[in-house]
């Protein structure tokens, strides 16, 4: 059931309840996930596979997975990059 392209739901941890797709199968115990979850190694006991499967290659980049998830109707919230705080009064910025 767990293979490359299978959409799974994480059951435990801080990403629990979020959906991700299997990118790589490392061994019997571990896979690599990406999608709503963080791109990370994951134990298969912490996953619940769903019926849907996506046609992707092994180690597919994050951008292609975003497009595939949009077709399924799953919106992924991207983190905003941190703003650089510029201190106008410091000596470095004055010179």
């Amino acid at each position: 059931m767990i293979e490359i392209g299978r959409v799974c739901v994480k059951i435990s941890g801080r990403d629990a309840g979020k959906r991700g797709v299997v990118i790589d199968v490392l061994d019997e115990k571990y896979v690599v996930l990406d999608g709503e979850v963080r791109r990370k190694k994951c134990n298969t006991q912490h996953l619940e596979p769903t019926k849907t499967k996506i046609a992707i290659e092994k180690d597919a980049p994050h951008e292609t997975i975003l497009k595939e998830f949009e077709k399924l109707g799953i919106k992924i919230r991207e983190k905003r990059p941190k703003k650089k705080i510029v201190n106008a009064d410091s000596k470095k910025n004055k010179a």
Partner: protein
């Protein structure tokens, strides 16, 4: 007349008979308890041992873990709910 803080329900009241035959009221603070899972009743992970009267003043991090259902369900019960939800998709 008792002080103002004893009039609220923050303290437990117990009525005691003295040797002289009088009836007096003893005030004692309530028992401190952990927050519990509403499905199975197990104590929640990450919740602090504190009296229920002070519960509102705790920081967010002391009320549970950062999982989904972190402050209301234990890990085992949350897993069961998420599994059944995933199978219906």
């Amino acid at each position: 007349m008792v002080g103002g803080k004893y009039k609220s329900r923050k303290y437990r009241k117990t009525y005691r008979k003295t040797p002289g035959g009088r009836c007096v009221v003893h005030y004692s603070s309530r028992k401190a308890e952990r927050a519990k899972c509403f499905k199975c009743g197990r104590a929640l992970q990450g919740s602090k041992l504190i009296a229920t009267s002070h519960e509102g003043f705790l920081p967010k991090t002391a009320k549970g873990v950062s999982r989904i259902f972190g402050g209301s369900l234990c890990g085992i019960c949350a897993k069961e709910i998420l599994k059944t939800k995933a199978r219906s998709i």
